[in-house]
């Protein structure tokens, strides 16, 4: 199903897979900005004894084989799993083989890539600017948006880029709970795998090169950004 003309580099299916990947990664990044920011803020400032355990839990996906996650999600989300029963009760249906199932899996899978850079950049701010803001009468929320956010801008940028890129690179989890549905769960990495399995090497090359270039550009963007990132 390659393009009609030679100038067409990627087939329609490839483009669909890429677009799906971008949507998935974009949505996960936005969700994780909302979830990860308070978590990272708490981790950066707390003296609670739960700091260690929670930090370790969040970092799990860094070392956990994606198949472990995929296996549990398949069982938990399925009709006989607790989450599956809950989602059916709520009228959402079952999450495996759905786009939202992938979103949820990816949120967990990419969590450390959002939280860790944010946490380091929050910790780098130190207490002085916060104390100054407090003496000037700013509420904690005010302080966060007018002092912390601007100061940790590059932390946010790095965390977002890493989260997006890591979600794009997801494969094992998607293979286990995705069910390979075009436009719904067939992301670029799975599409590439299918090309290779079907001996469509030219198509595989085109898609692979696109992803290679994308990954390089992402890293380049991180590395050539001056100042704060190196510090964080």
């Amino acid at each position: 199903m390659s393009g009609r003309r030679r100038v067409v580099i990627l087939s329609e299916e490839d483009l669909q897979a890429i677009w799906l990947t971008i949507r998935l990664a974009g949505l996960v990044t936005i969700l994780l900005l909302l979830i990860g920011t308070p978590v990272a803020w708490w981790l950066a400032n707390t003296k609670s004894k739960w700091k260690g355990p929670l930090g370790a839990f969040i970092s799990l996906p860094l070392v956990l084989p994606p198949t472990v996650l995929g296996f549990y999600l398949l069982l938990l989300f399925g009709p006989s799993g607790p989450v599956g029963e809950l989602t059916r009760f709520l009228g959402i249906g079952h999450l495996p083989f759905t786009f939202w199932g992938l979103v949820l899996a990816s949120v967990f899978y990419s969590l450390p890539f959002m939280v860790q850079p944010l946490q380091t950049s929050f910790e780098a701010i130190g207490e002085k600017p916060l104390e100054a803001a407090a003496t000037l009468g700013a509420s904690p929320l005010d302080t966060f948006f007018t002092v912390v956010v601007p100061l940790s801008f590059s932390g946010f940028a790095a965390a977002s880029v890493l989260t997006f890129a890591h979600t794009v690179g997801e494969f094992g989890v998607v293979l286990m709970i995705g069910g390979n549905l075009p436009g719904i769960t067939r992301v670029a990495s799975v599409q590439l795998y299918d090309h290779v399995e079907a001996f469509e090497y030219p198509q595989a090359h085109r898609l692979a090169v696109c992803m290679l270039i994308f990954s390089f550009l992402v890293l380049l963007a991180l590395y050539i950004r001056p100042n704060r990132i190196n510090k964080t």
Binding site: L74, P79, S80, G93, F97, L175, N180, D194, E197, A198
Partner: protein, 256 residues
Amino acid sequence: MKRIKQYLLSLLLLFSVSLHAEKITIAAASDLKFAMDEIVVSFKKANQGEEVDVVYGSSGKFQTQIRQGAPFDLYFSADIAFPRELVKEGFASGEVVPYALGRIVLWSASLDATKATLSVLTDPKIKRIAIANPKHAPYGKRAEEALKASGLWEKVQEKLVLGENIAQTAQFVETGNAEIGIIALSLALSPELAKKGGYWLIPENLHEPLEQGFIVTKRAADLSLAKKFVEHIRAKSSRMIMKKYGFVLPEENPTK
């Protein structure tokens, strides 16, 4: 000191044993999972001390891997076309041996599939139907053909989920994530799946035959253990195991 000596000696012994024993590695299509496991057990019983490793996966993947020099001594494919290509390209020692015909079945862990026919798939109560990816899995291709031949392909499009190979497809159904699926008869007959649900045999006139074949790879040409295993596969005991898992054996295959 004496202890260390003893230890070293036993270590040496261990190594010398492993040096003498031969070892073969078999790449087998995932529909063979249960049948091949049994055959290997009986082979090991008859040939004490010999090592046989089996790797299960999709036939297409193994073909690529063998082309790239993967260390497999025998290759059992679910589609005879793959090993045939390898023979042509010079990756095999000898010819392709057809060893079985596979069958596809409707299988479910939650519904009674024994009374089903393909037309139940359009039932709105069935939300997800698992088949293997027709693009590269032989069993998926046959499932697609059967659905097309019964005029259901377009109607069930929205419900299809694709397994990477036939074992993953079965696992989608086994976990209940898909209500029903089209899987290999050999898997539906395995003890693990048989106790969870019944199957309905899909008529073979609805699809091309699932002709399966194996080869001994080039690297195993002089391996006596590989030859021994081939003999064992052709022996009556192995044929009985294959039959037990629902494989139809080719008549022209000599019993010896």
